[in-house]
């Protein structure tokens, strides 16, 4: 489950169709990043978006962990950033995270500060670069346009997704995209976005809850319609 901390402003991609990637993002090598995902531009843009949405506060999280002497959590966060940064082509950040992970593992408190500062600098460059270059906009409260929902079809998709969460999540992802087409801009757009956020981080239990809520909302909508 995502923690209960206030969820920061979400960024969303602009537009559909051709996946547009910036030519250059400070701190990131787009070429290396694309190679790491076999040239899958859509996935790459998704990863960049996820990074921006979930790693912005990493420096803060690390400091909090180290302050509470929770070196285990801090080390794991550093390890995770090392891996993700490498995947998106942020090599300098990945190296800084590796150095930090090593310093924490070695228990050298004096070195943490320096390495943490270097890390935060690198992270800052990447986050700022992404914000500036990727053409992302802060997501606003979704304007409710009350587009009609094909209840029967959406209910079918939701039911199928529940069954697939623990048997074929790849197929569930395809259905999520289909769900997006049905619910984006509808009265259930917010529910959909919550569901997507949980599924993006593979929080299966939360995704399941979210799908159940969606099913209930669909039933209510159906009853309202029939009544």
């Amino acid at each position: 489950m995502l923690d209960n901390r206030e969820i920061p402003t979400e960024f969303k991609q602009l537009g559909d169709g051709e996946v547009v990637l910036p030519d250059d993002v400070p701190g990131i090598s787009i070429a290396i990043g694309l190679k790491r995902v076999s040239g899958n531009r859509e996935l790459y843009r998704e990863l960049l978006t996820m990074f921006l949405n979930t790693k912005r506060e990493t420096g803060h999280d690390l400091r909090a962990g180290l302050k509470q002497a929770d070196t285990e959590t801090a080390e794991r966060i550093a390890h995770s950033i090392k891996s993700i940064a490498a995947v998106i082509g942020a090599e300098e950040l990945s190296n800084a995270a590796a150095a930090l992970e090593k310093a924490i593992a070695a228990g050298e408190r004096n070195r943490w500060e320096n390495t943490l500062e270097s890390f935060e600098q690198c992270l800052g460059v990447v986050i700022a670069g992404l914000e500036a270059s990727l053409g992302l906009v802060a997501e606003q409260e979704a304007p409710v346009r009350e587009l009609p929902i094909n209840l029967e079809v959406v209910q079918g998709i939701v039911e199928e997704m529940v069954g697939l969460l623990n048997s074929d999540i790849g197929r569930a992802m395809y259905l999520r995209d289909e769900l997006c087409r049905h619910l984006d801009g509808s009265s259930l757009a917010l529910e959909y976005r919550r569901l997507k956020r949980y599924l993006d981080v593979f929080d299966i239990d939360a995704t399941k809850e979210s799908l159940d809520e969606l099913a209930t909302a669909l039933r209510t909508a159906g009853e309202g319609k029939n009544g």
């Binding site: 190679k35 790491r36 995902v37 076999s38 899958n40 996935l43 998704e46 990863l47 996820m50 990074f51 959590t73 794991r76 390890h79 995770s80 090392k82 891996s83 993700i84 490498a86 995947v87 998106i88 623990n166 048997s167 074929d168 999540i169 790849g170 197929r171 992802m173 395809y174 993006d200 981080v201 593979f202 929080d203 299966i204």
Partner: protein, 410 residues
């Protein structure tokens, strides 16, 4: 997009969603993918049927780490055979060795080349497929063998029953044959009695006819009549003796008694001599002295008779010129030895080792029961502890009977 329940299943265990997304992007069209972001959840998920065909496992995770997850998977009979590939940002050689030691089949470093990872997963799944096929094959063969084994067991059980049935049938056949043999022997005896009686009957007939003529001529006086009666009585006495002899012979003997093999041989000869002589078979006996011994005299006579009758039949059937039977009786090293040989041409070599078998006969078209020589062997070897052998001489067959004077059965 791949589809259907036949897709192989990949379990990805990683606490970093970005890594899962990258792996999913290259695998989801070919495999059914399930995901766990913590070890505990993965261990629950892994037993969901169908269980995964392969597991991609991160090492550094909160709570239970990848090493621990791998150890538990390998310790569980249900999951131990699933290939595990470690995919991790931990790059120390020691980490890799530890992973492989825990039973992982491969170790991939992050950041990885997706195309290569895809190939390495494919390779491991192919290997697993081969192994599963082999296991299936072994299982199938084992099942086939078990079925065959059960079949054999059933067959064996049936076989035992069938053997029992056959043995019973054979016993029945034995009883029938022995019965038949007894009838055959009786027939033989009656034949012999007829031979023995023909002469005295003729004599009695002639004497009575002569008496009639003498009486008609008035020549039958008291003295002549008395003489006639005496002669007839002698003949009748002889005939009566003949019957006594046969009765004694046929009387089953329960107790062992002292007997001289030579005397019993003579007794056998007295029963067949006239019928043999009629067929032109001469019988020559040389007695070098036998010793009185304990046993079943009548059975011994029966044994000798069987050999003599066989020899007589062969000599007659083969139309041997100047047929003869030569018998030597002797006593050597506490053994009574009876040697019976003929000039009938001998036993064909291909049946030599079968002549003492029960139901073996060369007289298919006649009255042969195939039990005569078998009975002889039984009497000599089983009942009297002796030994009987057969061999061919230059002229014919030779049967040698050796009887211990003090047998083990005494």
């Amino acid at each position: 997009m791949g589809d259907g329940p036949d897709m192989q299943k990949v379990l990805i265990i990683d606490d970093t969603p970005e890594n899962i997304h990258v792996l999913m992007s290259i695998l989801r069209d070919e495999y059914a993918i399930v995901v766990a972001t913590v070890g505990e959840k993965a261990l629950q998920l892994v037993t969901n049927v169908p269980i995964p065909d392969i597991i991609l496992l991160d090492i550094n995770m909160p709570g239970m780490d990848g090493y621990e997850v791998c150890s538990r998977l390998k310790a569980d009979e249900m999951t131990c055979h699933i290939p595990v590939i470690f995919i991790t940002a931990m790059s120390a050689e020691e980490d890799e060795r530890k992973g492989l030691e825990l039973g992982a089949v491969d170790y991939i470093h992050k950041p990885f080349n997706p195309a290569l990872v895809k190939m390495r997963i494919r390779n491991q799944l192919d290997l697993k497929q081969y192994r599963d096929n082999l296991e299936d094959l072994v299982e199938q063969r084992t099942m086939e063998l078990t079925i065959q084994h059960k079949l054999l067991e059933t067959l064996n059980a049936n076989l035992e029953q069938r053997v029992a049935e056959e043995v019973e049938k054979n016993l029945e056949k034995d009883r029938f044959l022995i019965h038949q043999a007894r009838f055959a022997a009786m027939g033989e005896m009656l034949n012999n009695i007829a031979h023995q009686w023909r002469q005295p009957l003729n004599n009695v007939g002639l004497l009575l006819q002569c008496a009639q003529l003498d009486y008609d001529d008035g020549r039958l006086d008291r003295s002549a009549f008395k003489q006639l009666v005496a002669k007839c009585m002698e003949m009748l006495q002889f005939m009566s003796q003949t019957i006594d002899d046969f009765q004694v012979f046929f009387k089953p003997m329960r107790e062992r008694e002292l007997f001289d093999p030579y005397s019993m041989l003579e007794k056998a000869l007295s029963l067949v001599r006239s019928s043999f002589e009629k067929r032109g078979i001469s019988i020559n006996v040389n007695n070098y002295g036998t010793t009185v011994m304990l046993g079943f005299g009548n059975e011994f006579t029966q044994a000798i008779l069987n050999i003599l009758n066989n020899a007589g039949d062969v000599l007659t059937e083969r139309g041997v010129a100047k047929p003869f039977i030569e018998i030597r009786c002797s006593h050597e090293n506490n053994m009574n030895i009876i040697d019976i040989r003929d000039n009938g041409g001998g036993i064909t070599l291909d049946i030599m080792d079968k002549i003492f078998d029960p139901y073996f006969t060369t007289k298919f078209m006649s009255q042969g029961t195939g039990i005569g020589l078998y009975m002889t062997k039984m009497i000599i070897e089983k009942n009297m502890g002796g030994k009987i052998t057969a061999r061919n001489t230059a002229e014919g067959a030779e049967f040698i009977i050796e009887l211990p004077v003090h047998s083990d059965t005494d």
